[in-house]
Subunit: 509 residues, 4 copies
């Protein structure tokens, strides 16, 4: 094997669009065929043609699927698993590779200053505080990837805002000395009704990636949902769990059902208790904030007529189609039941008609979700869908047929309380834990979870509900949740609009 | 002919209000009779009395009708067509004309800097991005003409804002592998349900004018509507089209029906497939942002009692009356049917009662539109009218009797999807393409259209509709669209209002 | 008479709270008894005790009733009429009065700069433009008096904002070649359905006072309502009118009905056609912006325990009670009918029940008004009351029994159109004309009125109504006018509130 | 006794977590057992271990219960009453204590400047003005304690904002010469329908504490409610009252009912007329603004793994549980009736169902309140609950069974008028008087009350109600009060959110 090491010179020959090799973590890959499909344009890859791209992928971090990104924000086994063997060109003799001087991101030195002056963990009193810190101490590109949403990010913000249109109707003079916030989800006992939902690319925020979340979930007796697009490998995440800890698997269904089947079977074997099939992402949404952050001006400045920018998006669409199956439909669901005994939950249901279908087809649960505002903009929040759905399910006698979860926008335990009052079995929380992890590592996630528990205990006392079962829909006023008369601010057009002005005085005073 | 060339001296004699000649592109015109009608005051023209005004008309660009402006923002044949022959004084010996030093607009050098530093086309990810760039790189006066709306510009902004009060109800688990966004409009197959609607004075934004839009429309297989008030001549625009490309004609109806008839007949002969009669502009709206930008202080400073400013607006109203017929009424519509076989569409319908009338009178379609917010302020958006109209049409069985289009405020493919869900056959897009053209020329418009297609494909996938026919009104929640409790900001009064303050401390700290 | 001239020395003896004389325009007055009632505190008057106060009253301009202010912002005959003869101490030998150096208001020099650089009148394109100019060029105190409203000025702003919650439903294809915007009000033919409503203290804005408005009203064939609290005397205003010009009288009812009767009789004799009895001001509202502007720090700094600030407001209330009769009630209305043949209108009606009472008691009209937002804060706008009232009146068959007017917040002709559509006979406009007058004198008011006419003509064309009679309630959508879910900003508490902040980084970057 | 004085050296031995003594006002206390329960972490106390902490407690002012704070913001008898005798270590020979140099708060010198330049009392025209002044002149920590609310402070702000969604429907032509704003509350005649509600820790704002409010209440003939957590002792407050003055007692119910009984009995003996049992605070809410202000960075920087921050909140919860009884329930209410003849009122009722229960159980009144927005965030305002409750009570014939009060957000007499119109017997006002006291002492509170009376008189005149009995629900339009479509701003997420931006130009201009 040592003899077959490739030299830097060998690789340097493949430095153009006709033949483009890159080095990633000591191995060479032929990415020529991928060039026209790269959403950021081929130029950004051609910069590394014939060179070592390991470092760059950390800072570019483009998009959450294999063909757009490399290790180390992807599991170490990704290339082996998904890139055609013929494109694995072999190991490289790294001693022959000259380290290039890195270009310095002007915002990077400011970030380093922020890191030095980071508030202490104790100063974070709620989940939004972690986000405020993470925004400053995370790499610009990583922050953009985590925080961005689809199009105008209206749904992204509506997710949290919707909770503010639900008001409490607290009970008084209830004995609330002992608060029990434990409940069950899909048969698993949990200490509080939230779970860590699946989010991609954990290593963008913290070098250890998703296992940080595994450890925090263990400590707080909550369930972790393992993402298909994790930075750590599935097995690394399962290996990190404690004996009695429960994990679920989030699944993007691959066109190649054999791959999907092997993933599902493997997860079940490794002890996963439930399968959450993502149904709101037949194509990944456009997150312009993320795109804008990743834009490489040096690539653009040499733009030529031959590389038509208008073709790139289609390329991205196709690239994604090759991985996630856009043809997935209701008729595929029974097949999943046939290959696994795990509980099956549809993640991303967005209207009551589809909840009813889910009941009829016999899945164990649904997550009312819009994918964290990252897919279809101006899709409603999970909490609004929940408020609209439960009365209909109850009227049809279907409300006990499956467990209903929501995710999106949860930042306070009061948000959780509202969801439970409205009939949810639990809520998924994603970004807040990523931010806590990115800013403070495991202690950050630990504190974030504890803060939620403290808030939850207080809220249950103050609303007059000593146990989860005591939370009911008489305790919330949802009349305003669907009253969308006040728009979420549309930053792009608000800023582009030129407001009318009064007549100008002849000279400025 | 050479002998009859007029000398600069000859023209210079006509340098006052009694006899005022100006040179436009080498020809002399007697505009004495027009002086009292000029909306900017006669002074602004008298500055050019007896001189060459060619250059000035580009920067002044006052208003979209012949009598207020000249070439080159008007078609080269305008003067020949509309100004009375007796006022064409003949060609000028330009060698006798001394070029005057231009006055420098202080904002112009800033604009030149912006142009030098313009973002690359690839950095525009959506239609609003083009607008943000155009705002900086366009001439101040041109920007004001394109971007302005009537009065407080409330309708202008409401047009886009209304879409944000409509929320999606996406379907999941629909096979969306193949998305077909093609449809037909008035019998023409189009690749996506939008058309390039008519907008005036394209040369303000790009020296080639409307033919840029013609070429982009061809490339993307969409229809272009040719404006009456184009900068290019009608024939130039038709000549620029490709063989199979379809164009429509937008028509301001002239008091002189003979002129109107000849325009209509000519359009039909040249292959136009439909006639869009503008019905929302018996008088052109007041666009104060535009007026303010055009205000010439040098003219104002010598204002005298004899030129009463209060008379000018009436002058403008009369000036416009002489061109567009304010007496146009329902009884004129059958006449159009009698003179053409083109499809006939009423553009600017604003209430359901008039849509029903349009059905009864037998036109082929209507455009629910408020003229891009440029006419009656606080008129509702097309999308709101659509949401109110379709249920009534359906109840009356009239919804298949004509094709319904909307325009105004469309900036995202999701806006298009909402219109289609609510029953529109297609939507017109105007300003965004003007901005893309002004900022980046044909490649800009090309990219703008492609971005819409990319967004459209994604949105149809994410809402669970593989074809246009799959988009239905169960997919949108319109309950808030008519909930006008949150006002569009009223910039003039908001800024003029003096907010209350707390008691002042004796010294500032 | 010459012999009886008072010397400066004589007056200077009365320079304290025990005996306080002031000189106003060459005459001495004993204001000792008034001292404890002065809303600004007695100190502010004591500064002028024994001195000439003529100049100061122009800049102080406290409040619109006799006992708080002097000439020249009051009619020249006010002192003779209302101050007890015994307090008229006689004429002063002004040659003996030493002119004191004026204290310079620091904002005054800035104002002078603004005046020098005032935009030309032609640059004002709408009524708000005049307000923006007036704000800069008016004396600070005069601006505060005109522009202020009650308490948090919520009603003040709601008055205009309410119009933005009413949307048009324009008709198309109506022959609008000839627009006739004339109508009648209380039997008088007017060129456009607005009138100049009564506003106090015109000389604060322009040295000629209300006669400026008289002349402008004549020019535009609209009615002027003469205010009780005018700066010009009633006769000066009537003398300024043209032969056929119609005026109305606004009346604050005096406790002394003999005075009221003489005012009413005199007005009728001088040709006034209607009597508008103010019914929304049994006590004048607190306008804190005005109070704050007038606050004299020098007075305050020597504040002592003996002058209890808490007593002053009561004093002000009592002071006002002595002039305006707070006991005025429905049973007084027949008496007015008995003393005059003028039309009688109640100004300031604020709920439908009282409009019905007005019908029953047989007055000729009502003005739905909240006194320009200067009385009870969070009282609704006239336009909202109108929208609520007319359907009830129609249902009861009362809508033809009297003429209904509204005032408050009208800034655009579209606001007028909305009121007419909803059943108003006309609208009153106050502040905008004061601002136009203050900024540009008569030409300003003239232009303001012409702009309204231009807008009105355009709006009637664009809504499809060639005459006032064509404006009906199908042309407006009022569903949102009573939807008060979006608050008018509460500036005081918004600014006082300390928003939550994220954890602080240890050092600022 | 002199002999038993403890020396500084003796105390200095107990300077660690194993044995921690502190000196407070010359006495030593053993607080070792309290260390793990301190919400600010034990470190902040350990800084004073073995030292004099008297000064620090004024500036730290953490939370309103014994175990978290010391004298002097607590009554002088608190330690004697509540801390176990065994922890009172005896008096200290203060001559042996070395005074440590104080750390200087950088914001403190700015505050001193503000104090020097404080506006004069006469410049405060309304209750918000006092708040604006207090914000600048109060100690940062005291301001934070008074002004903070729970979580995102949404309920805190909603309390006042809700009043702005209620609009008046004033009557005209009512004889309002004589206004009588007196009424009764629980049998006591008062001059105006507000009372001074209970607020904790008055000495944070003014060195004399709650007795300032006692004196002001006496002067204005209104009732004062004495807080359990007052800074002055109960007896000091009662001693300060005038003979005929009426006081009520606010009660946090202690787990040890013997203590509660002795407090109640004592209050009755001392003449209190009513007992207000707080029912909305089984646990004290989290007020992050307060927590953030108190954060001690020096403590945090030496944070170690052994002091887990996540445990502290639970500690706080337990600490509070030891004082306020979270098991208090409906079945305890009859016991209160058995031990006292005072009127009994439940303070903090938040839904109509509980008002009905209160009627059934036979208490004399309820306060619809959310504890000034300091407990459960997104609980609705008292005024909204009132508007929802009264129609139901009336329908059930229960509206005369008890007296209903509200508190929270009252800043204007118009707010009081709205509450009375809707059926409240009176309103409680807390913070505004604290701010007036903090900024100007007794004259401040005096003026604040007088301003409310002046506003009240004016408002009753302007709404057409000469007496309290004339205020009825036809005078208010409450349709919008429950329309929560416009959110209260969520400052933390609004500021953390990164708005989308347009493409950047290559260089900044």
């Amino acid at each position: 094997m040592v003899n077959s090491l490739l030299s830097s010179d060998e690789i340097a020959k493949h430095n153009n669009a006709t033949s483009c090799w890159v080095i990633i973590h000591g191995k060479a890959y032929d990415v020529t065929e991928f060039l026209p499909e790269h959403p950021g344009g081929s130029k950004i890859i051609l910069k590394y043609a014939g060179k070592d791209a390991t470092e760059s992928v950390l800072t570019i971090g483009f998009a959450p699927n294999f063909s757009q990104e490399f290790e180390p924000i992807h599991p170490p086994d990704t290339l082996d698993k998904y890139l055609d063997r013929s494109k694995h060109m072999g190991e490289v003799d790294m001693s022959t590779v000259v380290v290039e001087a890195k270009t310095v991101d002007p915002s990077e030195s400011e970030r380093q200053e922020y890191i030095k002056n980071k508030p202490s963990l104790e100063q974070c009193y709620n989940l939004l505080d972690f986000e405020a810190v993470a925004k400053r101490v995370m790499k610009r590109t990583a922050w953009a990837y985590y925080s961005s949403g689809a199009d105008d990010e209206i749904t992204l913000r509506e997710n949290h805002a919707a909770f503010h249109r639900i008001w409490f109707r607290p009970k008084i003079l209830v004995n609330v000395e002992n608060i029990d916030m434990s409940t069950t989800m899909l048969g698993t006992k949990v200490s509080i009704p939230f779970y860590v939902t699946a989010t991609a690319l954990g290593k963008l925020g913290h070098h250890e990636g998703e296992v940080v979340l595994t450890k925090a979930a263990a400590k707080h007796s909550v369930v972790q949902m393992i993402p298909t697009l994790a930075s750590c490998s599935f097995d690394e995440i399962v290996d990190a769990k404690e004996d009695t800890q429960v994990q679920w698997l989030q699944l993007y269904v691959n066109k190649n059902r054999a791959i999907t089947k092997s993933i599902v079977k493997h997860a079940e074997r490794r002890g996963c208790k439930a399968l959450f099939i993502t149904v709101d992402a037949p194509q990944l949404g456009r997150r312009e904030k993320d795109m804008r952050t990743k834009f490489d001006d040096s690539g653009a400045s040499v733009q030529s007529a031959s590389e038509k920018p208008v073709d790139r998006s289609q390329g991205a669409a196709r690239a994604i189609s090759s991985f996630i199956d856009p043809s997935l439909s209701w008729k595929d669901i029974p097949w999943f039941r046939s290959i696994t005994n795990m509980k099956i939950v549809l993640k991303g249901v967005q209207r009551v008609e589809d909840v009813i279908k889910a009941c009829e087809i016999g899945v164990d649960g649904v997550v009312l979700s819009n994918h964290g505002g990252r897919q279809l903009d101006t899709a409603p929040s999970g909490i609004e869908i929940l408020a609209a759905t439960m009365p209909i399910l109850k009227a049809k006698g279907l409300d006990k047929k499956l467990e209903i979860f929501i995710d999106g926008g949860i930042r306070r335990a009061s948000d959780i309380v509202k969801a439970i009052c409205l009939g949810a079995k639990g809520v998924g929380i994603g970004r807040p834990f990523l931010y806590a992890m990115s800013a403070y590592g495991l202690p950050g996630v630990d504190r974030a979870m504890q803060l939620l528990k403290d808030e939850m205990e207080m809220n249950m006392r103050l609303i007059g509900a000593p146990s989860i079962a005591d939370l009911d829909d008489s305790m919330v006023d949802t009349r305003a949740v669907a009253l969308h008369s006040t728009p979420i601010e549309d930053a792009l057009s608000a800023k582009t609009y030129d407001p009318l002005v009064a007549p100008a005085f002849k000279s400025k005073l």
